[in-house]
């Protein structure tokens, strides 16, 4: 009974947070499934401990799989399909090289974080002319026409365009409400968008 009430409460507020966070046009597809996964994290994982415990982890897929399995064993209510979705989401969002919660200033020097998400060789050369249309379809809803900013920050003239590792990490794996595009766009698509953004 108590648990049930709590779950409902968590769901409701979780939803509110998600909705607030996502005001504005939300494109279909990948983002939709992320939103569902986020909802599951709040509703099903937030019952025994706050979700900050989850977000501070930086684990690879096998260890996310093991962790989610352990939580189900302990009572987390997830169907097999939901569990798969969650593992997918957690492994893409909170992977070993994702930035965030742990300040890098003190730790980074002890030993650099693992390899960059994608080596320079694997980053194709972008074609700016292709990028405009790709941007309009996939990014404009949040980053505004001409990448001038909207729900997401202004990307035109944004220094991150030249910080290769950060740009690729953000676009591939997402950050905050910024969705991950690892599975939604090809490397070439991303390179094209980046090339076009640099021309603005």
């Amino acid at each position: 009974m108590r648990l049930a009430t709590r779950v409902v409460a968590v769901c409701l507020l979780g939803l509110a947070t998600l909705l607030l966070g996502r005001a504005g046009a939300v494109p279909e597809g990948r983002i939709g499934s992320d939103a569902r996964a986020e909802g599951l994290v709040l509703a099903r994982c937030g019952t025994c401990h706050s979700t900050d415990l989850i977000m501070q982890q930086r684990l690879d897929r096998p260890r996310w799989q093991a962790t989610v399995g352990k939580m189900i064993h302990w009572g987390a209510e997830l169907s097999d399909e939901e569990a798969d979705l969650l593992v997918e989401f957690l492994a893409a969002r909170f992977h070993p090289t994702a930035s965030g919660l742990v300040p890098l200033s003190e730790i980074g020097e002890a030993e650099p974080l693992q390899a960059e998400p994608l080596s320079m060789q694997e980053r194709p050369n972008g074609v700016a002319q292709q990028g405009a249309a790709l941007f309009a379809t996939n990014c404009q809803a949040c980053h505004g026409a001409g990448a001038g900013g909207g729900f997401g920050p202004k990307l035109a003239g944004n220094p991150i365009l030249h910080a290769e590792a950060s740009f690729w990490e953000t676009v591939l794996y997402g950050r905050g409400s910024m969705p991950a595009w690892e599975h939604g766009l090809s490397r070439q698509d991303i390179a094209d968008i980046q090339a076009w953004l640099k021309t603005l």
């Binding site: 979780g14 900050d52 003190e106």
Partner: protein, 420 residues
């Protein structure tokens, strides 16, 4: 109990960083010191954190933690929070700044209030006991100064990362613990010769009954050591709820996974405690391992004694220093030996200079140390420290990786800038 729950600032000084589920938006206008009214057991941080979200009517237990002044919250519920290392300039860590580790959070008031609370001693004993706090206080009182450190302290510094609370440096503290000897209590109960392990259980319970209980045991030799105590006071004040009121175990020289809080049950048995928290968690490989490797159970042993370690408390990371003499100070401690020396390096470990040990020298306490550095060259610098104990153990540059992320004791490092 119905409370109007409005948590002002939980992620007090938490490290920067985005939050995926957009739940940790800290109210920047709040002073860091007005701190937390209350933590709501069983409610998500998301519900209560943002002042923009209307006040939530929560039919939940509310724990007063106004006492936890200036802690870095790692997990809001159940509360895991560490001390900012700059606090470690004092020999004793104040109760309100002492790190908090909870597996399930404090038990409800009904259970830990002194009238209702009982300590049961059962198992392989001649005379099972049920003691009130007053009964317990009839045993001889002892006070021991001891470092208590979470075995996961420093977990965030391991690469590759390991799962668990991402503690950085401050899940440790030094306090004076007052209570009675476990030895005396076990003698009164009449320990039987086949009793080889002493199991502890507290009154804390998980939200769901499917979660394993936090049950741990220590070998009888440690239990019978005259310095192993059942403590009801911390730094001269009654134990607070977050630190295990009314009674907790303190195993000086050992990691805090043996220091069970909210203690209600002591069971003497032939074998180690069973269950997740003894047989799976808090275990450490006896040989070098790598990520992904399968480790035989025989190659894992429980985390017990602490190992030699030191921290730089001042200057703080990121400090901009005026060129001239700079006082570097910190603390150093070890498990069952004593600290023999602390070295400081200002050239990434190529050369080391001896720091001066200062202050109180207590068997299980930490040693304070200081070193004066003539900071002349402007620019960024990294300060390193490493301690050595009287058994010849010295802090390594980084600790051997282990899957639980336990026992980190790599050189401590703080980066500063000397102004031109």
């Amino acid at each position: 109990m119905v409370y109007q729950a409005r948590l002002v600032e939980v992620v007090v000084m938490s490290s920067s960083g985005e939050s995926l589920v957009r739940e940790a938006s800290v109210a920047p206008a709040m002073s860091r010191r007005t701190l937390l009214g209350r933590i709501i057991q069983g409610l998500g941080l998301s519900l209560v954190l943002s002042p923009a979200i209307p006040v939530v009517q929560a039919r939940e237990q509310v724990v007063e933690i106004s006492e936890t002044d200036r802690l870095i919250v790692r997990v809001a519920r159940p509360l895991d929070a560490e001390t900012p290392v700059q606090e470690f300039v004092s020999f004793l860590t104040p109760n309100s700044r002492f790190f908090v580790r909870s597996h399930f959070g404090p038990p409800p008031q009904e259970q830990h209030s002194e009238e209702n609370w009982r300590l049961r001693v059962t198992g392989l004993v001649d005379r099972p006991l049920t003691l009130t706090l007053d009964d317990l206080k009839q045993f001889e009182t002892v006070t021991i100064t001891a470092v208590v450190q979470c075995s996961g302290n420093g977990r965030a510094l391991y690469r590759p990362k390991t799962p668990g609370v991402q503690w950085e440096r401050g899940a440790v503290g030094n306090a004076r613990w007052t209570g009675v000897r476990l030895l005396d209590v076990l003698r009164r109960a009449g320990l039987q010769t086949n009793g080889l392990h002493v199991q502890f259980q507290g009154a804390d319970r998980p939200v769901a009954a499917t979660v394993p209980l936090f049950v741990r045991s220590i070998p009888v030799e440690k239990a019978l050591h005259p310095d192993t105590i059942l403590a009801y006071e911390m730094n001269g004040r009654p134990l607070s709820l977050l630190h295990g009121a009314p009674l907790r175990v303190v195993t000086p020289g050992w990691m805090a996974d043996s220091c069970i809080k909210w203690l209600t049950d002591i069971t003497v048995q032939q074998d180690e405690a069973q269950g997740y928290y003894m047989q799976t968690a808090y275990r450490y490989p006896t040989r070098q391992v790598t990520l992904g490797e399968t480790i035989a159970l025989d190659d894992l042993k429980p985390v017990e004694a602490m190992i030699v370690k030191s921290l730089i408390a001042q200057p703080q990371a990121g400090a901009v220093l005026v060129s001239g003499p700079v006082m570097i100070q910190g603390v150093a401690w070890t498990g069952e030996g004593r600290i023999a020396g602390v070295d400081v390096s200002l050239d990434e470990g190529r050369t080391w200079a001896q720091a001066r040990l200062i202050g109180e020298d207590q068997p299980y306490g930490w040693r304070q140390w200081q070193y004066i550095w003539e900071a002349t060259t402007a620019g960024p610098r990294t300060i390193l420290c490493r301690a050595t104990d009287d058994r010849g153990n010295r802090q390594p540059e980084r600790s051997p990786w282990n899957p639980g992320g336990f026992l980190w004791n790599g050189w401590d490092r703080v980066s500063v800038t000397v102004a031109g």
